[in-house]
Symmetry: C2
Subunit: 248 residues, 2 copies
Amino acid sequence: MAHDDGIHAAVTCGDCPIRHRAVCARCEGDEIEELEQIKYFRSFEAGQTVIWAGDRMDFVASLISGVATLTQTLEDGRTQMVGLLLPSDFFGRPGRGEAAYNVIATTDIVMCCFRRKPFEEMMERTPHIAQRLLQMTLDELDAAREWMLLLGRKTAREKIASLLSIIARRDASVKRQEAKGRMAFELPLTREAMADYLGLTLETVSRQMSQLKREGVIELEGKRRVIIPDMDVLMTEAGDDSDGGFLV
Amino acid sequence: MAHDDGIHAAVTCGDCPIRHRAVCARCEGDEIEELEQIKYFRSFEAGQTVIWAGDRMDFVASLISGVATLTQTLEDGRTQMVGLLLPSDFFGRPGRGEAAYNVIATTDIVMCCFRRKPFEEMMERTPHIAQRLLQMTLDELDAAREWMLLLGRKTAREKIASLLSIIARRDASVKRQEAKGRMAFELPLTREAMADYLGLTLETVSRQMSQLKREGVIELEGKRRVIIPDMDVLMTEAGDDSDGGFLV
DNA sequence: GACCTCGCTTGATATGGGTCAATTTCACCC
DNA sequence: GGGTGAAATTGACCCATATCAAGCGAGGTC
């Protein structure tokens, strides 16, 4: 049962990424068995709110399929996305009984949930879990910091290019293809969600998308399908050369 | 040897916060003893660079005194602060041999360093360390997300008020005094560093500080000493009511 | 005491992105 | 295949913040 990469391991271990990613670093049978007892699935449709900031949250979860977002809002309604959850991403916090952010499904999603208390108890007894979770959290922190650079210092054009290349790269790694040359993918976000990710208005997002299209940096099929003729060009537009696999 | 709060514990455990914060959740003697073997101190003067992004980094560390920053830059020199380190904050990443960010001392600082490899080995054997580090990292992630809201959606005025109230609150908790009513503190950052924190230019920072002063929200003694006549007013200006003790 | 430097402030002007207001497109549903 | 409504585009205008530039003040050096 060789584990040469994340995807293979996840498949080998079963249908739920958390079993591999947060827990079974070495696929130990009894750990998986115990997780099985406290796990359950939930699904939501595109547009539904999974949980509101401040609500009781007695589970932690990993996303199996679809895309969800974490958002924060000011009283007057200004909202900022602070997390973009793609399949295999984890959310919820051990030791915290209430949600800190709004979690919203932007496509139909399926989540694999674990009851929080038993999960925390398991963490106490099973060093692998805490260690794996630490690695995942550190990765998220790096992604958050990259995101801060984007929010604080990039132009609207660079922001758009960055977001597109983040999604393209993440998508590419899932499909196990090289993130080079020509690429195509379905945008899982509305223009408004993109704006909330980037700290822009949806009009500016739209304008910059049109601009990039006019200049041949991207092509659009309909409103959501994006084709990148040349990833290198897009990444130059993004303003940094970070080739890391960041993204929360 | 009761541990009723973080500060007390840190003092009780010795002079280095990491011993309590990252490790000795229950002050177990042998863990402390072993850490003692791999620890060493380093100090830097205000303005010195502790480490450049990309450099080899074979230690992790906690800040004992002073203030340091983590910054990221684009090729053309635009820079964004992504971490503000105050005493007892931890930095460096287990499992990563090179620095991801520039670490710069903004005041004279003293750090308590631990050689990375032995620290990682200890983490493997000592669940408490990974668990404590996980909690600290999750707190940092929350702080980063609060920071993202600031960068993406707040006005210059709100950004300044937010930063001042973050520093004031953090300062207050160190001094064990209530973060209510009148407060005073020394700004540990230049206007330029404030700008890098907030995603603004230093001119805008200066103008907004003058504006807040003119309106009586803050008072200034010299350029660095800040007096907050009424914390509630400042926090209203900050645009959110988050009373959490966030901050990296 | 004159001079320099560095951090900061202030002013004048430019501009990127926000705001407000129509349209247009397209995915979906009869 | 035509109708409908939400999502997206586009235009006109405005404003918050950036940019460029000048000047100030405190501390340090000769």
